[in-house]
Amino acid sequence: MAGQGPERREILRILSLASAAAEFPGLTKWAFAFDDPPKNGLAQGPKKTYKPQFFTTEEYETAEILCDLIIPSDETPGAREAGVSEFIDLMASRDAEIQPKFRSGISWLDARSQASRQKPFRAVSKEEQTGILEHLAYREKHRPGEEQGRAFFNLIREYTLMGFYTSRIGFAELDNPSLRQFYEKDPLGCTHVNDREHKHLSPIRQ
């Protein structure tokens, strides 16, 4: 039982990874997102079209837009690169309780957008989409009568966080220590020996 070196553990990990990956046909970006990054860069991945299992094509397009607005691709990759909408579609496809909430929520957004712009949410400009969401996202901008919209925004935001921050891209975004497999000795010890109360640290990350 002793003497299980890192090599053996790494082999186990790779074996389990291979068997797990084999089980997920159809998940293009997401499968890509949990695989080891290809040597020739992120953008080189195969561009396949994802076939949603729960959402209609239109709903799926809307969900993709929402994920992108919530965790955008900016100075670092976002929900789009991490395939978050595929994760949400998979989770929803297996959850009868949550399905009506996603479906009616997207309908609510479309109705909201139709009322002001005569177009569904996915067809209005990014600025207009952002404008609609701001009223749902910020307490000081809340409007009466939009309770259902706010509940849906919270729901899709939660699922976007779940999908993004559990992807390899999301782990890298936070420099999540779990990306590293193991440590030779206890890595917990704080190194700020002259500032144990941590009152004089200077931030290095924004």
């Binding site: 039982m1 002793a2 299980q4 553990r9 186990l12 990990r13 389990s16 797990a20 089980e23 997102a33 949990f34 607005l69 965790i71 955008p72 900016d74 670092t76 976002g78 998979l90 989770m91 929803a92 297996r94 959850d95 949550i98 996202a137 910020y138 935001r157 939660e158 966080l161 779940m162 999908g163 921050y165 559990t166 992807s167 782990f171 975004e173 936070l174 420099d175 999540n176 220590p177 779990s178 990306l179 193991f182 440590y183 030779e184 000795k185 206890d186 890595p187 917990l188 010890g189 704080c190 144990r196 109360e197 941590h198 009152k199 640290l201 200077s202 931030p203 290095i204 990350r205 924004q206």
Partner: protein, 555 residues
């Protein structure tokens, strides 16, 4: 004639595996019965899979979400948990019953916090007049704790607090940045903030390698660097050649002889669905606290019309649990913008606030006894604090990154007092898939543990304030009873056969060749977790069993 073993052990978890190992090493022939399959680490454990390598990212298949209780019953481990055999909860009550049916039980995935019980726990009634004292002293159990600690390896420091007795420890884990911040706030108000006692190896120990800090503990340890029956006591028992381990053997009841003593047990072979009988001179039940009580209550005969060894009427009574609830959670802005650190690499509690209330006489608090608090935080695997922030877009994304090292949470571990209202019995109507009557729970939290929670909310809010923290509040309600997995009491031990199911060796008063070796034996709850004490008390029971065989008490 059917084979008669020396000992049948029911259950192969913390208690059962201790008994199997100890009795096999003493040369006794042991047959162990386990309700589910054999756990094979390379097959059943997490083995360094990270969330992005899991189909449902560690949240589990939504289709089966209602059958999982969370905690150790997770996406990776769920097949090892009992979802077929149901239980019921009486109206007005609440209980979640998480049962691991794989060999080693929940001790494959436990939290590893391993404080010893002490005289503050054993002499509670003498100190405050409530309920009963334990029939043993700290001095008497201490050598057993030491033996167990030396076998399994526990990491901590010597702290010289009689309410939280010291043991034989390996080097402790280091304090994280958040630990120093919270500790400095605790120091100001005189609340202890100390290294927990953690059954996890900071150095190589007894042939088991030191922790490699992968953080995957809750899905099983791939290298056996913390105690589990799977890596420690089951292999040790098998090495003796004295053990026969039968898997998929779901025990139904204890069989009695003509004189009312235990003759063996009857179990359902899950593979064939047939009932099988097995015989022994001694039966040890260690199926986990409530499963043991259920088996005994289901063991009715002309000698024992209300369940075996139940002349006291106390079998199934005195059920208690730890109330688990959030006392506060929030962030420590002093750490905002700092580089990420592997704060969760040991996946352990690292530090805790062991009971500091009501240690002196007269007692200073309105509640009886006391509670402990576990503190978590720092860079975690999943940024759940992000849900608390408003907004969306690039600014939101940057904020989540900036605050990654800052979360902190305070979880209370509050013992419930024994209550007439809280017990387990057999459902008079419902039967499981094998036709066995199911366990029925009667349970609700009482005022004393809820008072402790209110107290903890105030203290933790004060600590957060002193640490320049933002307090986002306590939980709206406690976790349901059963959640902590620290239930104790339904076969509790004591000297008086009229009042207690088992004696000070955890043998039944009525049936001296029937022992219990799980948390069902503990008479009253404490602020401490139960696993290390199950090991120590089971080891002590084994001494009694071995002595009994030596003297020929079991025929």
């Amino acid at each position: 004639m059917a084979k008669v073993y020396d000992v049948i052990v029911v259950g192969t978890g913390a208690g059962g595996s201790t008994v199997m190992k100890t009795l096999c090493e003493a040369g006794l022939n042991v047959v162990a019965l386990n309700s589910g399959p054999r756990v094979i680490p390379s097959m059943h454990y997490g083995n360094h899979r990270r969330r992005f390598e899991l189909q449902y990212r560690g949240f589990g298949d939504p289709k089966t979400k209602n059958q999982r209780h969370g905690g150790c019953d997770s996406e990776i481990t769920t097949d090892l948990f009992e979802h077929e055999i149901r239980y019921t909860v009486a109206p007005g009550g609440q209980w979640v019953w998480t049962r691991c049916k794989g060999t080693g039980g929940k001790a494959n995935f436990w939290g590893r916090s391993s404080a010893r019980f002490g005289d503050i726990d054993f002499k509670g009634a003498s100190r405050d007049g409530h309920d009963v004292d334990w029939p043993i002293t700290s001095e008497e159990i201490s050598p057993y704790y030491s033996r167990i600690e030396r076998m399994v390896g526990v990491s901590s420091t010597v702290q010289n607090r009689p309410s939280n007795p010291d043991g034989d420890y390996l080097p402790a884990f280091g304090h994280r940045c958040m630990d120093w911040i919270v500790k400095s706030a605790c120091d100001e108000i005189g609340v202890p903030y100390l290294p927990d006692r953690i059954a996890q190896l900071t150095v190589d120990h007894n042939g088991h390698p030191a922790c490699h800090y992968c953080g995957g503990c809750r899905t099983g340890c791939d290298s056996g660097s913390f105690f589990s029956p799977t890596w420690y006591f089951i292999p040790a028992a098998e090495k003796t050649g004295k053990l026969e381990l039968r898997t998929d053997a779901h025990v139904k009841n204890v069989i009695v002889r003509e004189d009312g003593q235990a003759a063996g047990v009857s179990y359902i072979d899950r593979a064939t669905r047939k009932e099988v009988e097995v015989y022994a001179k001694v039966v040890v039940l260690a199926g986990s606290c409530c499963e043991t009580a259920k088996i005994m209550l289901n063991s009715k005969s002309r000698h024992w019309p209300t369940g075996i060894a139940n002349s006291s009427g106390q079998l199934g009574r005195n059920l208690v649990d730890h109330l688990y609830a959030s006392a506060a959670h929030g962030i420590l802005p002093r750490l905002a913008g700092q580089p990420s650190r592997p704060d969760n690499a040991s996946s352990s509690t690292v530090c805790w606030m062991p009971r500091w209330q009501n240690l002196k006489n007269p007692f200073e608090e309105e509640f009886i006894r006391g509670y402990s608090v576990y503190v978590g935080g720092g860079c975690q695997e999943y940024p759940s604090y992000a849900s608390h922030f408003e907004g969306f877009g690039s600014e939101y994304k940057r904020k989540i990154r900036k605050y990654y090292p800052t979360p902190v949470s305070f979880g209370i571990q509050a013992p419930s007092l024994v209550s007439e209202k809280n017990y387990i019995d057999i459902d008079p109507v419902v039967k499981d898939i094998f036709g066995i009557p199911v366990a029925r729970f009667h349970y609700q939290w009482g005022p004393n543990e809820l008072k402790m929670w209110e107290h903890a909310k105030e203290v933790c809010a004060d600590i957060l304030r002193r640490a320049d923290g933002e307090n986002w509040g306590a939980g709206a309600k406690p976790q349901p009873p059963g959640h902590s997995l620290h239930e104790t009491g339904p076969c509790r031990f004591g000297n008086d056969p009229k009042k207690f199911v088992t004696n000070r060796w955890s043998a039944c008063h009525d049936v001296p060749n029937l022992y219990v070796a799980d948390a069902s034996m503990f008479p009253t709850p404490t602020d401490k977790t139960t696993t290390i004490s199950i090991l120590a008390f089971a080891l002590r029971s084994c001494d009694h069993i071995i002595e009994g065989f030596r003297q020929g008490s079991f025929g």
